[in-house]
Amino acid sequence: MQAADADAGGRAGGADNSLEGQGQGGCGGLCSAGTEAAVAGAAPHVPRPQHAPGPGGDALSTTGRPETRIHIFALGVPFPSHLEAEIACASLAPDREPHGGIVEKQLTVTDSVLAIRWRAENSRLLRISIINFLDQLSLVIRTMQRFGPPVSR
């Protein structure tokens, strides 16, 4: 993933030039409002998959069956403003994942960061889902760069 794409125009950290304040919330009810703090440090860095610990347990005992592993992947994408993060969220959330429920993802917006959290039983399908998401995310960012900024509400 190119740094330019991940950094949504490179205006992060500067003046917030949108009319919206820095709020926390879902994107029009589409994404669950979250306390997810899955920001991945510096913008272009994609974090390595982690195994989520179970309640009070360790990484290996995530599920009842020792052979089935649940893979978790979290990604945070900063945007120049809360509104633009919400726009990206609302554009990317509606399409359902293929293959039933083997791979699930959840999108949330906190301040001006779009956080995506994947949960999958199959690592190959998880990898495919992430790659496809990054392609569509890149397109959304290019669209916003070329046809934005958002008009005032």
Binding site: L30, I87, S138, L139, T143, P150
Partner: protein, 335 residues
């Protein structure tokens, strides 16, 4: 007078169109063409669409002489079609709808073809033969639904033609169907193929298997030429389509027939349909390749009708769907 922007990309064509009150202001399009002997796969097709869609959008606005402020509604193909290409187009539609703060409309691809056919030809209430690489249906309007009277029970007629083209390694540029049509004109011998009309419906997968098999054998022995096979395949499948269209017209007492979809460009099909219509005292309507083949303006036109009738697609409902029946939509814009 609403101005609607339409995005289409359910198969290998990607188009962006602008329509205002029955006038097509812009309709640029690109086609993803694969090498002879191959078909287009979803991931590669989506990659193609993502690479060109923003340029196409700019082209459409420039050609129409409009800015984003002049657009009243953003329409896009909700389905049916191939997953990844549909998503690639839908995310752009959703993004610009939000950037420009305009309402969004998810359109059924088949209805896009029908509404553009009605607009361009002026047909009032025709029996519609919708034939393309992805769809084969005979449709008639009744009481707020486009009802499917007959359809393929397996593959679309265009799919049969396209996959046969691969066997003969016929070029996919500009489309395999076009090249089969040109070769068929030079065919001299009719090879007998299975004829599979099933009541109101048709089946093509058996014909495809048969002709793939026949091609190997007969071309090796020189019993017939590739041109003969193209000719024979067209004559057979088109006769089947004429039969089921006629059957639907007889049921409905219809005096008009309209052909839409990419296979509708085929002049031999139009000729055969015309013969049938004349024998019944009915009128045949067809459009040219600008509107037969998937395009953005047809989505904009269906969107225009839907917008004026009060339809809106909330973002949360705007997910694409690979299966979307023509009769699922309530056609509130017609009586």
């Amino acid at each position: 007078m609403p101005t609607v922007l339409g995005f289409e990309g359910s198969a290998n064509k990607i188009g962006v169109g602008v329509v205002r009150d029955g006038a097509v202001l812009a309709n640029p399009r690109r086609t993803y063409v694969t090498p002879p002997g191959t078909g287009f796969l979803p991931g590669d097709t989506a990659r193609h669409h993502r690479a060109v869609i923003l340029d196409l959008l700019q082209e459409a606005l420039t050609e129409a002489g409009l800015t984003s402020q002049d657009i009243d509604c953003i329409a896009y193909t909700k389905g049916p079609g191939m997953g990844a290409p549909l998503v690639s187009v839908a995310v752009v539609a959703r993004t610009v709808a939000q950037l420009w703060n305009k309402p969004l409309l998810g359109v059924n691809h088949c209805i896009g073809h029908i509404e553009m056919g009605r607009l361009i030809t002026g047909a009032t209430s025709p029996t519609v033969l919708y034939v393309s690489g992805g769809n084969t249906q005979v449709i008639a309007y009744s009481e707020h639904r486009y009802r499917i009277f007959g359809e393929t029970i397996d593959i679309a007629v265009g799919n049969c033609l396209d996959r046969f083209a691969r066997v003969l390694k016929i070029s996919n540029d500009p489309s395999p169907g076009y090249n089969i049509e040109q070769m068929a004109k030079r065919g001299k011998k009719l090879v007998e193929l299975p004829y599979t009309v099933k009541g109101m419906d048709v089946s093509f997968s058996g014909i495809l298997s048969f002709i793939e098999d026949v091609a190997q054998r007969m071309l090796a022995t020189g019993e017939c030429t590739p041109e003969d096979l193209c000719f024979s395949l067209q004559e057979t499948v088109f006769a089947m389509l004429v039969e089921i269209t006629e059957r639907a017209m007889a049921h409905c007492g219809s005096q008009e027939a309209l052909i839409v979809g990419g296979v509708g460009c085929n002049l031999r099909l139009q000729e055969m349909m015309e013969t049938m219509c004349q024998e019944r005292g009915a009128r045949l309507f067809a459009t040219d390749e600008r509107f037969c083949i998937d395009n953005g303006a047809m989505i904009a036109q269906a969107g225009w009708e839907m917008f004026r009738a009060g339809h809106r697609t909330p973002l949360s409902d705007s997910g694409i769907t690979q299966r979307y029946r023509t009769d699922e939509v309530e056609v509130t814009w017609r009586d």
